[in-house]
């Protein structure tokens, strides 16, 4: 290679790989820390130990109840957000006009508006309705925060749908609910599934608003992790981080495999 080519092509490429390393490698540090044989946050000294993973499964340590709490809230949130999101996206797509456009902006705004502002508002509102530190309160807030994702995912699916399909069904005399249920819905199943998954993940990960509207009664997993990070001692924290990392990696690999298979089927 000529020196000029090394500077113009090789150097940026090397830099790009270093930056990719900066993104990925630091996350891996939680794995050795989770395997430490000490009872404080440290790298393993005299061999590795699985005791901190065992602590996760110990009900009295609080990690397992928090995981179940988060899973339950995320399931409820995904179900409600998906139902609301499907109805809204389909209705807006079929009706058009200023009202759905305006409501769409409002529904999507939690993606831009800093969540801390929403947290301030919700603390006030839930205090008045005595929904602070309740499952209902957390689920409703998570639904609001998950709706932008379901609306976008289902909207993307709908934008590939041919409007003439609806016209054909209607001209053949299908009633409105039949059109929605039997013509539109079956065609957007992938978008609905993606929306439900995104809503689940959004709820499972939510921390900023949850932090202010929960207390002792509802301890979600992110909240438990938050408290534990501030103490910065318990290696079980690294163990739970490792578990979350493994789940993320497996989910991404599964998605890649599914996409790969779908592409192969096309040819």
């Amino acid at each position: 290679m000529k020196p000029r080519r090394i500077i113009e092509v090789g150097l940026p490429r090397l830099l790009a790989w270093c930056l990719l390393g900066f993104l990925f490698v630091p996350i891996l540090v939680v794995i050795p820390v989770a395997l430490t044989d000490r009872d404080y946050l440290s790298l393993p000294r005299d061999g590795i130990s699985m005791q901190h993973f065992a602590a996760l499964a110990d009900w009295s340590k609080g990690w397992l109840p928090s995981m179940l709490t988060s899973a339950g809230i995320a399931l409820a949130c995904a179900a409600i957000a998906t139902a609301l999101g499907v109805a809204f996206a389909v209705g807006a797509w079929a009706a058009g006009g200023w009202w759905p456009s305006l409501m769409r902006i409002l529904l999507l705004s939690p993606m831009i508006v800093p969540p801390i502002i929403y947290a301030v508002g919700m603390v006030k509102l839930w205090a008045r309705l005595s929904l602070l530190d309740s499952y209902t309160g957390v689920v409703l807030v998570h639904v609001v925060l998950a709706l932008p994702l379901t609306v976008l995912a289902i909207g993307a699916s709908l934008s590939n749908l041919d409007q003439r399909l609806v016209q054909a069904a209607r001209s053949l005399g299908a009633r409105p609910m039949t059109v929605f249920g039997k013509v539109i819905l079956p065609n957007i199943v992938p978008g609905v599934a993606a929306g439900a998954l995104l809503a689940f993940v959004a709820s499972w990960d939510e921390i900023t608003v949850t932090l202010f509207i929960t207390g002792r009664a509802v301890v979600t997993l992110p909240r438990r992790i938050w408290t534990s990070i501030q103490d910065a001692v318990d290696p079980a924290l690294a163990a739970i981080a490792t578990v979350l990392l493994v789940i993320t990696v497996l989910a991404l690999i599964a998605r890649a495999l599914i996409e790969h298979r779908q592409q192969q089927r096309k040819f």
Partner: protein, 280 residues
């Protein structure tokens, strides 16, 4: 005919009610409280501008947000540009390296950085054992740690935005430039960069707005020593119960974010980038 449209509009009602009642209303109440708590008027705003602590917090927030945005967009552009030039196999690996941090919990990422950067952390231990330094460096619970954590959090977003934008650019333009005798550097500065400006602008906008109101990473990696607006607001509502301060500062933050987004939407390229992605 009428019946169909009415049914469609009815379907939008439940989500709209949730958005109005559980999103718009509580936020409007924050705005209202900033003018009425404890009594009606702009007194809260006057004391906000006279408050030296708030001034320091705002300066820290701006400093961190600007640094984060510049570093993130620059680094993300380098990565996204390299990814679109890779073979399919390497591209898949690179995108995997971006998607893992993109999807993993922000708390896990903050925790990883604390483990690496703290005084008895992985990096300091390694540097001390190899004899590079004799006393541990202060890498976290300060401006440096917050900035590292923020750049690490924002980069996957920015890379994916820029990657989508760069993939949409028609490569035949570069072929044309090359066949006309342009050197690679010229092609980059005169063709790639101008065509990717909308993507860069969108990434800059998103990263800056997210940084301004970000709570988790600054709070965990700053640990109260590097206070940014979101954490300052959180202290006002959870420990000192200063609702006047919390609501007026929230309103200011919302106003600034609103102005930035509104100004950005006036640019046709940005509006197109925003609207084209979701449904029409």
């Amino acid at each position: 005919m009428r019946n169909f449209k009415t049914t469609a509009l009815l379907l939008t009602v439940p989500a709209s009610l949730v958005a109005i009642g559980l999103y718009a209303a509580p936020i409007l109440q924050v705005l209202a409280l900033s003018l009425t708590e404890p009594k009606f008027g702009f007194a809260n705003y006057q004391s906000l501008f006279a408050n030296a602590a708030v001034g320091r917090v705002v300066m820290t927030t701006l400093k961190v947000s600007v640094t984060t945005t510049v570093l993130t967009v620059l680094a993300s552009y380098i990565v996204a540009f390299a990814i679109i030039h890779m073979s399919a196999g390497w591209r898949r690996i690179s995108l995997f390296l971006v998607l893992v941090p993109f999807w993993i919990s922000v708390l896990v990422r903050a925790f990883s950085w604390i483990t690496i950067l703290r005084r008895r952390g992985v990096l300091n231990s390694a540097l001390m054992e190899t004899g590079v330094i004799s006393t541990p460096l202060d890498l976290v619970y300060n401006l440096l740690g917050v900035t590292i954590g923020m750049v690490h959090y924002m980069m996957p977003f920015a890379i994916l935005l820029l990657y989508a934008n760069l993939s949409d650019i028609d490569r035949r333009i570069m072929q044309a430039a090359r066949s006309l005798g342009a050197r690679p550097a010229t092609i980059f500065w005169r063709v790639w960069l101008p065509l990717s400006l909308p993507g860069i602008a969108l990434a800059t906008l998103f990263v800056f707005v997210f940084s301004l109101g970000f709570l988790v990473t600054p709070a965990l990696l700053g640990a109260g020593k590097t206070l940014m607006i979101a954490e300052y607001i959180s202290v006002q509502i959870s420990s000192t119960s200063r609702w006047d301060l919390a609501t007026s500062l929230s309103t200011m933050l919302l106003l600034v974010v609103g102005i930035i987004v509104f100004a950005a939407m006036r640019s046709p390229a940005l509006r197109a980038a925003f609207v084209a992605r979701p449904q029409q």
